[in-house]
Amino acid sequence: MKTIVLIKQVPDTETKVKVNPGETDINREGINLVLNPYDEFAAEEAIKIKEAKGGEVVVCTLGEKKAEEAIRTALAMGADRAIRLDGEAFAGSDNYATAKALAKAIEKEGDYDLILCGKQAVDDDSAQVGTLVAEMLGIPSASLVINCEVGDGSVTITREIEGGNQELEIAMPCLLTAQKGLNEPRYPSLPGIMKAKRKKLDVLSAGDLGLGADEAGAAGSKTAIKELSMPPERKAGQVFEGEPEEIVPKVAQLLREEAKVI
C-alpha cells in the first residue's frame, strides 16, 4: 500500500499577517512557517494506514528549500520519504499550475493506492489543489473527509456535507482531502525528528517532470494575483447603557437603519 501525501508549508496560524501596499505576497519577514494543519491530518492518516496495513508513505510538496522543514515534520511523524518540486520554472504557480506539477510528480512516482492532502491550505484558503490533482490524474476524489477505512481495493469514507455526513465507498487509487476531526495528529517524537534527517528527500525540477516552459509556474497558470489587501478594520462597538425598555428600541432601530441587518 503506497500513500502519497501532498503538503504545503504555510505561515503559523498565530501569525499576524501584514501586506505591503502594491505587493502580491504577504510580508514574510519574521513569520514562523509550519506544516499546513489540514495536511497534518492527511499525514497522520497516511501513517496510521501504514502502521495498520504496511507499505510506505511518500510526502510531496512544491516549495522552496525552506519548505523542507515542513517535509521533515511529516517525516518525523513517520512518513518514509519525500519529494520536493523546486526551481525557477515553478515561480508564480497558481492552483492549476501547482496541481499540474504535483500530478506529474505523482505519475512519475507511480504505483500509488491513495493520495491524501488537507482540505485546504490555511494561507490562501483556495481548497482547489487536491481536487484538481485528482482530475488531472483521472482518479476519483472526495473532499472534507472525517473518517476513512481502507478495505480491499477501495476505501469507505465519511465526509462532511451541509447539515450532515455522507458515507461513500471509493475505488482505489483515489484522492481524499482531510477535514478536521479525521484524527488527532501525533507530535513528532525526538527520535522521530532525529531519524527524519536521514530519510530520503528527492528534489525534482520542472524538466525532471517533463513539463514544458509554458506548463509550469506563471506561464502555466490560469490565474494571477493582481492585488492583496487587508480586510477593513472593524469599527469599535457601541455600548448602550440604561434600562432595557429604553435602549432596546434604540438598538433595534440602529440595527435596522444603520447596520441593515434586521
Binding site: E68, E69, S189, L190, P191
Partner: protein, 378 residues
C-alpha cells in the same frame, strides 16, 4: 531569537512549543492552584523523548543534544514552570546513569526513566547539608551483599511520584566529599519512607518531599559508579541540572515578558497605553536584554556540554544570570500589571512565585558565585 539553530533544533523547539501550548498551558493555572502533579502530561512527554532528551534512543531517550534540551525546557517552562522542573530533574537523573551505570543498571533503571515510564529523583540535600553538599551525613554500611542506608533527605524534587532515586550517602571513613557514594534506591524498598508534599510558594504542581532511610537495605549491585564517586556524580549531575534550571528560568522570564507587553499594551492610563510611557519601556528593554543574554549563556553552556568539554563554570554563570534575571523580569512584569498582577486572575502572579525558586534550587545564587569565583581564582 536570532541565534542560528540547526533544522533539527528548530524542529524540536517548534514541536515542544506546540505541545506546551496545546497540552500544558490550558491546565497550568489549575494545576498550580490545586498543587496537582501533571501525571498524564509527563507520560506524554516521556513518549516524545522529552524525559531523557540526551539519552540515546536505544536506551529509550530522545537521542538529542543539550542545545535542544535548552530549547525544549524553555518552551515547557513558558507554559508551566512546575512541569519544567519535573522534566529537568528526570533528565538530570538520566545523566549519571548513562555515564556511570553498568549495562544491567541501564537496562533496569535508565530505559524506564528515559522513556518516561518511571519518574526519577536525585537525593543529596539533607536538613544539615544544603549548600554545603559535602557535609552529607546519611550513611551506608555494607552488610553481606547489601548496603544498609540510614539518614534523611529534604526538598527532594519528584520524590512523591518517583520510582527510582539516586541517593548520595556516606560510605567508609573518608571525610567530606571523598567519603560519598551514590546508590540507586527503588520506591517501596523496606525502610525507605517518603514524607508528605511540601507546601510551596511556587512550582506547586511539582513534587517536593523529604525521605527517611531507616535500615533500608539496597542490593550491593545498586551502587552507581565506584566507592567514593558520589560527590563527583552529584556535581556532574548538578552541572547539567543547572543548564536545566537556567532554561526553566528563561522560559518563565519569556512568559512574564509577553504577559507584561500584552497587558501594558491593552491597559490605558492618562489617555494612552502603559507601554507608551518611558518608565515602562525601560523595564521592557531591560527584560529583552536580559532574556537575550540569558538565552545565549544557556546555549553556550549547552554547546560546551555537547562538545564534551567541562562546562561547570558556564553552567553556573548561566544559572546565576538566568535565575536572577527571571526574578527581576517577573518583578517588573507584575509591577506593570499593577494591582491586577497581585491577584490570581493574572498569569504573572504565578510566574512571580515560580521564578523565585530558580535562584535557590540546583545551587543557590551564592553557591554559583562560589563556583564562578573559585574558577576565576584558581
Amino acid at each position: 531569537m536570532s541565534f542560528p539553530l540547526t533544522e533539527e533544533q528548530h524542529m524540536v523547539q517548534l514541536m515542544v512549543r506546540e505541545f506546551a501550548r496545546k497540552e500544558i498551558e490550558p491546565v497550568a493555572a489549575r494545576n498550580d492552584v490545586e498543587s496537582r502533579f501533571p501525571t498524564a502530561i509527563i507520560d506524554k512527554m516521556g513518549g516524545l523523548g522529552l524525559m531523557g532528551m540526551m539519552v540515546p534512543a536505544e536506551y529509550g531517550g530522545g537521542g538529542t543534544t543539550a542545545v535542544s534540551y535548552v530549547l525544549a525546557l524553555q518552551e515547557i517552562a513558558y507554559a508551566c514552570a512546575a512541569t519544567a522542573v519535573t522534566m529537568s530533574v528526570n533528565n538530570l537523573v538520566c545523566g549519571p546513569l548513562l555515564e556511570y551505570g553498568t549495562e544491567e543498571q541501564k537496562e533496569k533503571y535508565l530505559i524506564p526513566l528515559a522513556s518516561g515510564e518511571t519518574l526519577g529523583s536525585f537525593a543529596i540535600t539533607e536538613p544539615e547539608a544544603g549548600s554545603d553538599a559535602a557535609s552529607v551525613s546519611t550513611r551506608a554500611v555494607l552488610k553481606g551483599n547489601k548496603y544498609i542506608i540510614n539518614g534523611s533527605k529534604v526538598f527532594i524534587t519528584n520524590g512523591g511520584h518517583a520510582g527510582t532515586f539516586i541517593v548520595i550517602a556516606r560510605l567508609g571513613d573518608k571525610p567530606r566529599h571523598r567519603g560519598m557514594s551514590a546508590f540507586i534506591v527503588e520506591r517501596g524498598t523496606p525502610g525507605f519512607e517518603i514524607g508528605p508534599e511540601e507546601k510551596k510558594m511556587g512550582v506547586r504542581a511539582s513534587s517536593t518531599v523529604s525521605l527517611v532511610f531507616d535500615d533500608c537495605a539496597v542490593p550491593a549491585e545498586n551502587m552507581l559508579g565506584g566507592e567514593g564517586e558520589g560527590f563527583k556524580i552529584a556535581m556532574t549531575a548538578l552541572d547539567s541540572g543547572r543548564i536545566g534550571i537556567s532554561s526553566q528560568a528563561i522560559g518563565i522570564a519569556r512568559a512574564a515578558f509577553d504577559e507584561a507587553i500584552k497587558y501594558g499594551s491593552m491597559r490605558k492610563q492618562f489617555g494612552r497605553a502603559l507601554v507608551r510611557n518611558q518608565a515602562i519601556q525601560w523595564m521592557i528593554a531591560d527584560a529583552a536584554r536580559d532574556i537575550e543574554a540569558a538565552h545565549l549563556l544557556a546555549l553556550s553552556a549547552a554547546m560546551a556540554k555537547d562538545r564534551g568539554e567541562s562546562f561547570t563554570r558556564q553552567a553556573s554563570i548561566s544559572k546565576l544570570f538566568s535565575s536572577e534575571a527571571a526574578v527581576r523580569i517577573c518583578y517588573d512584569a507584575l509591577q506593570i500589571h499593577g494591582g491586577y498582577g497581585y491577584t490570581k486572575d493574572f498569569k504573572v502572579e504565578r510566574l512571580y512565585r515560580d521564578a523565585r525558586v530558580t535562584t535557590i534550587y540546583e545551587g543557590t545564587s551564592e553557591v554559583q558565585r562560589i563556583v564562578i569565583a573559585n574558577n576565576a581564582l584558581k
